[in-house]
Symmetry: C2
Subunit: 163 residues, 2 copies
């Protein structure tokens, strides 16, 4: 073990940390890229206070009006308890409404409100500008397509939702 003097020298120089053993790893780079893309998304939506998961939920409800909470949550691989909190917040913000289904009192059908339908078009436009920025970093349309295919192949490793 090095002496205290060596340690002090190392700490004082504050030289760069060698992460070469990690930067070649796909999982490490995937996580860093995902965090960077989500940061860019969140900055893009700063005026609207919408996170990527929230955008995904609103879009899924918009495209599948009347679907159950359980079905939407599962399709997006969001834990049920977290999903309920997301919908609670959307109800407070008057963007989503739950309607109890007569045929099954335990099931809640989800709809965008009029206000929700009106803001989601604006959200799609903001998302499109963000996506264009990200896509340009990936490369040509052909390279973008391959990149998405590669990500899909990785996603297929995880077939079932874990709670």
């Amino acid at each position: 073990m090095p002496s205290d003097t060596d340690e002090a020298a190392k700490l004082e120089t504050g030289g760069p940390i060698d992460l070469s053993a990690l930067v070649a790893l796909i999982g490490y780079q995937l996580r860093r890229a995902q965090l960077a893309v989500f940061d860019d998304f969140i900055r893009s939506f700063a005026d609207h206070n919408i996170r990527p998961s929230q955008y995904g939920v609103l879009t899924a409800i918009d495209r599948n009006p009347g679907s159950s909470q359980a079905a939407i949550a599962q399709s997006l691989a969001i834990k049920r308890s977290n999903f309920v909190k997301l919908i609670d917040e959307f109800e407070r913000r008057k963007l989503v409404v739950r309607r109890q289904v007569a045929a099954d009192r335990r099931a809640n059908a989800l709809y965008l409100t009029k206000a929700g339908q009106s803001v989601i078009e604006q959200f799609h436009a903001i998302r499109a500008a963000h996506e264009a920025r990200i896509s340009a970093l990936i490369g040509s349309p052909k390279e973008q397509k391959l990149f998405l295919e590669q990500l899909s192949r990785l996603s297929a490793l995880r077939e079932t939702l874990e709670d």
Copy 2:
């Protein structure tokens, strides 16, 4: 708004949720792929109870013995408070030791213990088998290289650590 009968029909059919508006988005696919790869990593390390972030920290300490907590945490973009908890757990597990530096009583230098040095070689072998599985899904070595470069370009969007 549809009638209750329509809703019941939709809920009962339980048809697949249409996510076509999301699956073409890079951020959405990145997140799903990252979760799948991390799941595979965690399953690979089930006998050792090591998560990807923990593997990254142990590897960084092994390659940069005597570096400060602050330097390692920052290089890995881990929040200081989370990093302290990680190191606390490694100390309990006798894998890492903090040594106070005489020249600066506020700074802690990090080292792997003998036990830590011994298990990390085993961890590298497990990680290599996981990485081989993931890499094969990406494609040829040339395609793997491009894929990592594309991820690096995305990561560069986020230059500063946010707390």
